[in-house]
């Protein structure tokens, strides 16, 4: 890991955003990186927005905050323009949903996270693991194997199977999105 990864996830309370970020953190850690993870508790907002983040880097991480993430995943909105200015210049923005018809900037990706969890997995609660897959698939910040191991560690024993699938579907959706982008770029 030569790059310093700064990944932020935005969701609503109960969506498992914090767990997703912990899984990313543990994956990076297992691969020998330094890592910090935290979350913003809303201003005492119960059940309101929740944001979590991970920083992973080979060198030690002192300043523990993210000013502009290089990966931002938003579960709660598809309004990419609103979030574009929050990321780093060469950062990546991941949104939960289907892309609209208009042409998007190159660094914006849509992954239908909720739909995958809801329709394909029939377990909405696994959306956060789909997230993990999506981030790993799109960024390659950690190996899929490390991430999968971390997923298995952080979900209830009874739910390992379904979450493994969730992760894989997330990765797959990411690959598709990347392929599509490549296609449209070369087209």
């Amino acid at each position: 890991m030569s790059k310093r990864w700064e990944v932020r996830l935005i969701g609503t309370g109960g969506q498992g955003i914090v767990t997703a970020s912990i899984i990313l953190a543990v994956s990076a850690l297992r691969e020998g990186n330094n890592v910090v993870q935290s979350q913003n508790y809303g201003p005492e907002v119960r059940g309101g927005y929740s944001t979590a983040y991970v920083i992973a880097s080979e060198s030690s991480i002192l300043y523990p905050k993210i000013d502009r993430p290089n990966v931002l995943l938003v579960m709660t909105s598809t309004d990419y323009e609103k979030y574009l200015h929050e990321i780093d210049e060469d950062g990546m923005l991941i949104l939960n949903g289907e892309p609209g018809p208009e042409r998007m900037p190159d660094n914006v990706y849509f992954i239908p996270i909720t739909n995958i969890a809801h329709d394909e997995l029939e377990r909405p609660i696994t959306a956060n693991i789909v997230c993990v897959g999506a981030v790993v698939g799109l960024t390659g910040m950690v190996s899929e194997a490390a991430a999968l191991a971390a997923v298995e560690e952080h979900v209830p024993a009874k739910a390992v199977k379904i979450n493994r699938r969730a992760f894989i579907l997330g990765v797959r959706a990411a690959r598709e999105a990347l392929a599509q982008r490549e296609a449209s770029a070369t087209s």
């Binding site: 912990i22 953190a25 543990v26 850690l29 990186n33 330094n34 890592v35 910090v36 993870q37 935290s38 979350q39 913003n40 508790y41 809303g42 201003p43 005492e44 991480i61 002192l62 300043y63 523990p64 905050k65 000013d67």
Partner: protein, 375 residues
């Protein structure tokens, strides 16, 4: 101990305390310290220890003092509002010399303030929050690893010197999970308070040479008296001026005798620096980051970080400050530690404040900018 794990600052405190032999926790939930209570609730019963949720912070402080009287190592955890409520009983622990550890995960105050935002607003309170003159040791870690080690050390210092020890965390450190890989130097030893010497008459508040009297656990055959009234060597109340003076000077002076053991200060590129940053806690992470960047750019900047913040390491600061062009004291408050730094350097070096009071951590950037202005 070698495996790396992801550990939050709050959890690290708990692990450190347990490693040092803590078997009693009493507390009252409060953001952002609550995870400490949660973790003790899980871990203590597994070790046959007691987790107690009290009716408020005053009671929590009372309960850990009580537990400690029996020789049990005891901890509480809280944040600003609860910390304010504990001050009377912290004073009691100080004058009755009952070991105990208070973890204060600072949040933005005063009053309810911004409960989920970090702050360093309790720096002065941790020293001066009780009425009367009382000794206290205050330790401010800046990483999860250090939270583990320093909480363990806090327990041990408390036992060794019979003094309340405050672990001064903040919201950022408390909630930050980070990679921790313990090394040998992180090993927390279990040190217990010294007991009565067999064959010697037991004086519970003996004016010993090292300033620390022996402690007899309740129920072990020494039937003595503990009181928050000023007492003589026997522990009974006195208002004889000579005895009062003796007790108070010993109790308040004992830490001075052991400064070397108690103090811990980190120096980062301080020797040849022109500009010195003095910072503690999570702000020191930003400062450290700034130093790293600036040094890479060849700029002569360094940092001194008090880990033991009280007693304030004035000698360390004075020595490190000698000959510098300027000192910067960044704090997430309106300027508290800076007063101590100013006092230590006594006008020999200009001291600059960098305060942030909007609920956000001071960034390395801001520090760098100020350093560059001053260079």
């Amino acid at each position: 101990m070698a495996e790396a794990k992801l550990l939050s600052g709050n959890d690290a405190c708990v692990q450190g305390a347990l490693a040092a032999g803590v078997r009693f926790f009493a507390g009252y939930p409060i953001t952002p310290s609550t995870e400490i209570a949660n973790a003790f609730a899980r871990e203590l019963p597994r070790r046959g220890g007691i987790f107690m949720q009290m009716e408020d912070e005053i009671a929590s402080m009372g309960a850990i003092i009580g537990a400690s009287c029996t020789g049990t190592k005891a901890v509480t955890a809280t944040s600003g509002p609860g910390f304010s409520l504990m001050q009377e009983n912290i004073g009691y622990a100080a004058i009755a010399e009952i070991p105990c550890v208070i973890i204060n995960v600072m949040r933005y105050g005063p009053s309810t303030g911004l409960p989920t935002s970090p702050s360093q607003g309790d720096f002065m309170q941790s020293r001066w929050g009780s009425h009367g003159d009382r000794p206290v040791i205050v330790i401010a870690p800046y990483t999860a690893r250090e939270a583990y080690r320093e909480t363990g050390r806090a327990v041990n210092l408390s036992e060794t010197y019979r003094v309340p020890v405050i672990v001064l965390m903040d919201e950022i450190l408390g909630h930050l999970r980070e990679r921790v890989e313990f090394r040998d130097e992180d090993l927390v030893q279990e040190i217990s308070r010294k007991g009565p010497e067999p064959g010697r008459p037991f004086l519970p508040y003996e004016n010993t040479e090292d300033g620390v009297p022996p402690f007899a656990d309740f129920g072990t055959g020494y039937r003595y008296h503990i009181t928050g009234l000023i007492h003589d060597e026997t522990g009974f109340p006195t208002n004889n001026p000579v005895e009062v003076d003796t007790t108070m000077r010993r109790v308040n002076g004992k830490l001075e005798l052991h400064r070397q053991d108690i103090e811990r200060t980190q120096f980062v590129d301080a020797d040849d620096a022109e500009i010195l940053i003095v910072a503690f806690g999570s702000v020191a992470r930003s400062a450290h980051e700034a130093v790293r960047t600036l040094r890479n750019e060849g700029k002569a900047v360094g940092m001194v970080r008090p880990i033991t913040v009280w007693p304030f390491p004035e000698d360390d600061i004075r020595t490190a400050a000698a000959g510098k062009k300027a000192i910067i004291v960044p704090e997430m408050n309106l300027g508290q530690m800076i007063g101590e730094v100013e006092r230590a350097v006594a006008g020999t070096v200009p001291v600059h404040a960098l305060n942030r009071i909007d609920g956000l951590l001071i960034t390395p950037h801001e520090i760098r900018d100020l350093v560059e202005d001053l260079l």
